[in-house]
Amino acid sequence: MITIYLIAAVLIGTGLFLNRGKALNYTLICLFLVLQCAFTVYACLHYTETTANYFTFDSLGLIMLLTATIISIPAVFHSYIYIEESEEMTPRSRATYFGAIVFLITAVSAAYLANHIAVVWIFTEISTLSASALIYHHRNKLALEGTWKYVFICAISITFVFIGILFLSLSFVNAHSDDLSYKNLLAHSSLLNSSWLRLAFLFIFTGFTAKLGLFPMFTAGVDAKDKAPGPAAALLSSIVMCMGFVGIFRIYVIVANTPLLHWASLVVGIAAFLSLFIATVYMIKVKNIKRMMAYSSVEHMGLVMLGMAAGGIGYYAAVLHIVLHAFVKSSLFFQYNQLYKVFRNKNVYHLGNYFKYNTTGAMVVLFAFISVTAMPPSGMFVSEFLIFRSMFEANQLLLLIVVLLLLTLIIWAFAKSIFKILFIPAVNFDESTVPVISPWRSTSQFILLGGAAYLGLNPPMIFVDLIKTSIALLPH
């Protein structure tokens, strides 16, 4: 089935690149959404099965695939609004944009399900290529700068992952097997040579941080989200980050089953804490609202990885948190386009009194802000609380206090900008040019935010079971 999915997606994507007709473009993209949904349903029905040798519909892959499919539908809808209302739109840029969206979603979905580290790596490469086409959408100097930085840093990070894979194969020499699938690695985890495995983990982890948006490679993602169109930035800060998480999680599971668990959790913890620290510093300073959202993603990925490092209930909380973050952050980025349409600016100084111009949109921003700062009744409150609990149980009290202080600073910095945008009038703002925005365009954001709250506060049993199965291989 996955072969059919990949071939069909490639055909649709190529068709989009080659055809410039409007009707055909939208037919193809709708066809792709149907394909994506059908594939997701198929994956759910064939839970734990392996297809085409290299793909397994396991629990983690399934959770992420469902998330990606749910987000991709509003992403395409908002892309439609964005493209059709954009003044610089040409048939060529539309075709490229939608083609790149198709390739990105396909590559990310395949990377979730891949059970072989080299296959994950290949799809990560493809996702870089398609993401760079999305970031370069505006074709101006700044977009080129953002794209160049993204491509260059991602190319280096992909090389790092490859070096990690090479070291992994070196650590695997004693096992007398050349199969680098996760299952086989896990089965032979006692035979892995620990010094090579250390190097392998360091390189693979560093490589995937570019996608996850964690220290040290987070800069590429921030620039990319700033320059990419809103709906594309929503994809970059949700499903692409999930891909980075899957890449790190699967190798972490293997390392956790060797004596290196403590060392690996230390590495992950240091990177996570530094990400949180850097996000705090930048969020206090930043005035560009889109970059602020991007730094907020860095902060949340730091929290996710702190949960992973702490262990125990933290594993559960990490998976829950990254799913909820994907929903919340994508809805915030979907909303960003309406904000930009009203004010034609992304500097906080020039935004203000949003409630007056677009009441529904302002409510989305307010709710998304409450969700993203993890205030109850936000679903992320639950996952963040569990992460804190896991740190408490791991006897990391000092770290926990520092993290809480940093989070307070982040909430203060974020709230200062968001409340300025919502309530305080902007100086010298010409009200006559404000367009009327249909409230219906915010429906998907409300659904995503509500879904995140529901999943956090009252998770359905099946969702809890899926998360529990995906972390079952980690030592508790």
């Binding site: 080299a118 790596w121 290949i122 490469e125 870089t128 290529l129 760079s132 100097k141 700044l142 080129l144 700068e145 953002g146 794209t147 160049w148 930085k149 491509v151 260059f152 190319a155 280096i156 992909i158 090389t159 490859f162 070096i163 894979i165 090479l166 194969s169 070196l170 650590s171 020499v173 050349d178 680098l180 040579n193 620990s194 010094s195 090579w196 620039d223 700033d226 320059k227 930048y282 300073k285 930043v286 005035k287 560009n288 970059r291 500097n347």
Partner: protein, 210 residues
Amino acid sequence: MLHVLLIVFLISLFYLSIANRMTTYVNVLALQGILLFFVAFFELKNINTLNLILILLETVIFKSFAVPLFLRYILKRNNITREAEPYLPNFVSLIITTAIVITTIILSNTMEEGKLDKMFFVVALSTLFTGLYFIASRRKIITHVMGYLVIENGVFVLSLAVGNEMPMLVNLGIMLDIFASVLILGVFLNKIGDVFKDIDVNQLTNLKDY
């Protein structure tokens, strides 16, 4: 013979660190491509002919012919000055490269004995870090790309070290090489040359937080 080739490869890194002119960088990259082919030829003993042809295409045709040709074309078309313009003097560069090589030698001695030839490990890792150092210390975008190509060469050496056990990884490495080089060189270096007339990283500082 294998070790001689690898040491020549290492020496080419030292030469690169004191090179002044852009064309020298291109020439060294071309030389490294040919060296890599012979390393692959001597190292991979039980390789089939098809794979060897693939490696030949990748190293000799791609690395030491197509890429240098393209780099020369870019240098000419965008009127890039001939000087490499490093931030640090060449002497310091040489010392840093030496330090990198010594560190990797020490690191290789701390690694538990595996089936890996340590020479490969030292050459690959020092190439990797020297490439990163070139990226950090040079001013032009095109030298950043060359630094990246140096990293790719290092990765190729490392993939040859495991090539006898896992030939698939060598092919993956070739794929990475071609994919990333085409993406970076073809699409963006061309484009960046059109938009930013004098290719200098100092022009790429417009994305700001406020």
